[in-house]
């Protein structure tokens, strides 16, 4: 029986992790723009934000 309890806790916490990741993704706006990130990755020269990010 105790094995089942451990399994239960494990499964719910794994699912909880995914829920957390989902909410995090929504919050950071990942689902708001599905075009720019896909195109941006193909550009040869890096946008300014990333350049300054590397310097700092």
């Amino acid at each position: 029986m105790s094995v089942i309890v451990i399994l239960l806790i494990a499964s719910i916490s794994v699912a909880g992790l995914f829920l957390f990741a989902f909410i995090w993704g929504v919050k950071s706006g990942q689902f708001e723009d599905d075009f720019s990130p896909a195109s941006r990755i193909l550009f040869e020269d890096k946008p300014a934000a990333q350049v300054t990010g590397n310097i700092e």
């Binding site: 029986m1 309890v5 929504v26 723009d33 720019s36 946008p47 934000a49």
Partner: protein, 798 residues
């Protein structure tokens, strides 16, 4: 393939892809249609951003009309600039610009490299879906105005209007997505935990069983208290308005299910129906989000303020002072530049006005006005600068008054007339009736069965199936229509379109293409050299008629033009070689001024009139087929601000029963729609300009036609891409089918409900039966609504 090859051999502008007809504007072996495009290319090339042209072919927009250099001077005004700024300190400023021209990955590339064009810019991040750029720039090195000018210099003129400044455009609220996520998480886990109970857990393992039950209970709490909130809120709102909407019985079912299950778990008598409850909340939220998914790049709410500039130049003691529109007072003298809108009614006090009223009347040919004449708001000046003494406030002007009409306010209280709500109301009364009868029966026969039987009825008979089929069918149809470039404001519009009995068309820009006109030449034939001379002369003018003529002739010419003279509202004249050539109105050429309907442009060479080009409306391709189909199912009207020149053509296209009205003012259009509605008609108005805006708003389903999706359309219930207009008949059909699909899936769900009720009234509804019935009814409803609407769409080739 053959046709494709033919297209590519035709030379087009390297920047914007428009035909290269001029033959003169070249740079670095690249051809351009105009100086504007060439200049943008130069700027991009100098800054090493030519990747812009490699990512997509001809990614630019046409820049034929130059932007006035100090157009953005109003952004120096802190109070206006502050509306674009989201954050500001001594080092950085964050500002958001709306750039409707954005359309491809090239745009993204160029905009995100803005720091190379404008040194003060630190970074630029584009949100493509919203067509917005969040720009961070250094407070000392740049300003909002400089950034706006940098964007304009590469062809992305930011759109800054009063209404866009006022409000943020809505999207699906993030809260609803969190609610869906949590409901999904809880539903999945509760389902898993319920299996032992269904599969008959060993009775000796009581500890394990109660642990599963309590975990379920705990997992159901967030769904009950957080995820189901939209249903409580909506039903509470409807009850306050003394109206029973579909959410009321659903909220009741959720509460009863939860309470009964909680009681069972606490008392240790059973496992409850937590899985059914969480599942149904999850599915209903999913349906709702699918249905509410709107087109964020479109705006259905535009009023006149979106069209008008944010600020105008007011002349004060000989100086131009940028002034925000709402503070403009009668008596101010305003300066209107070329291609600018007149924001308020006024009297022309200086300059020669040549005003394009296409926004107001639909008539695309500009009219000349002399000093002292009244000019109306909404007109666009073409030509030199003019000064206007305003006589009315912006909000009181002729055109803008249409929006401030009280008639629109009346309708603001939304009345949910959807048949789904009405159906659910009957449904609820029946369920209450059954519950009451069952309650009385068990009270008399066996009071211990009363509570389980009655609660089971409410659980099983919740009209969630109806809601599910409705939201999923609506959502799917919205998507199918969106794929076909008919964008609806919301799901209610589907039903409104289905009910339409009378369709009213605007003519110019709706049935006809405002950018194109048919030209027929009548008179003495012109030889090749003469045609080339006409083309050369027409190509030198920016008047709409000349441009159309030039485009239709399609002749590239490099003849030298001398002594070019353009008389606004009359015609052109010049010397080419030894010949004096003049083109223009019959009056200008001194020809016969017989008052014939329609527009004519004459050609005169060496004072001999050769003939006239007759201009006529160019009807959209396949519009005749559409009108033939619609004649059979709907009553039709055409209501035009134009003259009656097209009367015969329209009569032929629309049949003998159609009503044709010409020379209609915007207000007449609105009143016509209202009168139709008084006679019990459900009216669909299809129009494109500001002049139709009042009618679009008054109609039951207002459809705005947009040549390009990022064009500005007046506020309406739907926006249709111009090339999709010929398929309107199929769109109406699928909207009508919507109702049948919803009803079909509802009938199926009633069958499930009857099976469930059979057990429920006896008080023997076991959680297992509920757990099988609920998901299977939901799934089959999804199948019917999705499958049905998709199959229909395929059948209609949408």
């Amino acid at each position: 393939m053959a046709s494709k090859a033919a297209v590519t051999t035709k030379i087009s502008c390297y920047h914007c892809g428009e035909p290269y007809l001029n033959g003169k504007i070249n740079l670095d072996t690249k051809q351009f249609c105009c100086e504007g495009c060439k200049m943008v290319y130069q700027i991009i090339n100098e800054n090493g951003l030519c990747e812009y042209y490699n990512l997509n072919q001809n990614p630019g927009f046409n820049n034929r009309i130059p932007v006035r250099p100090d157009k953005f001077s109003f952004l120096d005004d802190e109070s206006i600039a502050a509306r674009l700024i989201t954050f500001k300190d001594e080092k950085q400023v964050h500002a958001t610009f709306y750039l409707p021209q954005m359309h491809c990955s090239s745009c993204l590339y160029l905009l995100e490299n803005l720091h190379r064009l404008e040194p003060g810019v630190i970074s630029c991040k584009v949100n493509f879906t919203r067509r917005e750029a969040d720009i961070i720039f250094s407070t000392n090195e740049s300003s909002v105005r400089k950034v706006a000018e940098a964007l304009t210099s590469v062809g992305y003129e930011p759109w800054i209007s009063m209404s866009d400044l006022k409000e943020k455009r809505p999207g699906i609220s993030k809260k609803m997505i969190y609610q869906l996520g949590i409901a999904g998480f809880c539903f999945g886990n509760v389902m898993l935990m319920s299996f032992p109970e269904y599969l008959g857990i060993d009775a000796s393992e009581t500890g394990l069983r109660s642990m599963f039950r309590w975990t379920n209970f705990a997992l159901a709490i967030p769904v009950f208290l957080y995820s189901a909130l939209p249903f409580y809120e909506s039903s509470w709102k409807s009850l306050k308005h003394k109206f029973l909407n579909i959410d009321a019985p659903i909220a009741l079912a959720i509460i009863i299910t939860f309470v009964r299950s909680a009681v069972e778990v606490i008392s240790g008598t059973g496992g409850g129906y937590f899985d059914s409850m969480t599942g149904i909340v999850f599915f209903m939220l999913a349906g709702r989000i699918l249905q509410d998914k709107t087109y964020r790049q479109l705006s259905f709410e535009r009023d006149y303020t979106s069209y008008f500039p944010v600020a105008v130049s007011v002349m004060k003691e000989g100086k131009e002072v940028p002034t925000v529109l709402p503070t403009l007072k009668p008596g101010d003298t305003i300066l209107i530049h070329n291609e600018e809108l007149i924001p308020a009614d006024g009297i022309l006090s200086r300059g020669k006005a040549f005003i394009d009223y296409s926004f107001v009347t639909g008539e695309s040919i500009p009219v000349a006005k002399e000093v002292g004449e009244l000019v109306y708001a909404g007109g666009r000046q073409t030509g030199g600068n003019i000064e206007i003494l305003t006589v009315k406030e912006v909000a009181q002007s002729y055109l803008t008054k249409l929006w401030n009409k009280d008639t629109f306010r009346e309708n603001e209280e939304p009345k949910p007339t959807s048949f789904v709500h009405l159906l659910s109301r009957y449904f609820t009364f029946i369920v209450f009736g059954i519950a009451l009868a069952t309650g009385i029966y068990w009270q008399v026969n066996n009071p211990s069965h009363l509570w389980p039987a009655v609660t089971a009825i409410f659980i099983i008979a919740c009209p969630c199936a109806l809601l599910l089929s409705n939201t999923f069918t609506n959502g799917n149809i919205l998507q199918i229509l969106g794929r076909n470039r008919l964008y609806l404001r919301n799901a209610e519009t589907i039903e409104n379109i289905a009910k339409v009995s009378h369709i009213v068309f605007d003519k110019t820009g709706t049935l006809t293409q405002s950018t194109e006109q048919d030209i027929a030449y009548e008179g003495e034939p012109l030889d090749e050299r003469q045609l080339e001379m006409v083309a050369a002369l027409a190509g030198s003018s920016s008047h709409p008629l000349s441009r159309t003529l030039f485009k239709n002739l399609g002749i590239t010419s490099d003849l030298e033009i001398l002594h070019f003279k353009e008389t606004r509202g009359a015609g052109l004249e010049a010397m080419i070689g030894e010949d004096i050539i003049r083109i223009g109105s019959p009056a200008f050429l001194g020809g016969d001024i017989e008052n014939e309907a329609g527009t004519r442009v004459g050609v005169s060479i060496n004072n001999k009139i050769y003939g006239y080009y007759k201009y006529s409306n160019h009807y959209r391709t396949d519009i005749d087929l559409l009108l033939q189909q619609l004649q059979k199912t709907h009553r039709l009207s055409v209501i035009s601000g134009d003259n009656a020149a097209e009367h015969e053509n329209l009569r032929r296209l629309l049949g003998n029963d159609a009503r044709l009205l010409f020379k209609q003012q915007p207000e007449d259009k609105l009143n016509y729609i209202r009168n139709l509605q008084r006679t019990g008609e459900k009216v669909m108005m299809i129009g494109d300009g500001l002049n139709d805006a009042g009618a679009l708003k008054q109609s039951d389903a207002g459809v705005a036609v947009a040549e390009q999706t990022n064009n500005f359309t007046p506020s309406s219930d739907a926006i249709i891409g111009a090339e999709s207009l010929p398929r309107l008949h199929a769109f109406i059909k699928i909207c009508r089918a919507n109702r049948n699909i919803v009803i079909a899936s509802f009938i199926l769900s009633i069958v499930y409900n009857l099976i469930g009720l059979y057990f429920a009234v006896q008080g023997t509804l076991s959680p297992l039966i509920a757990a099988i019935l609920m998901p299977s009814s939901s799934l089959s409803i999804l199948l019917i609504s999705f499958g049905g609407s998709n199959w229909l769409a395929r059948w209609m080739r949408l």
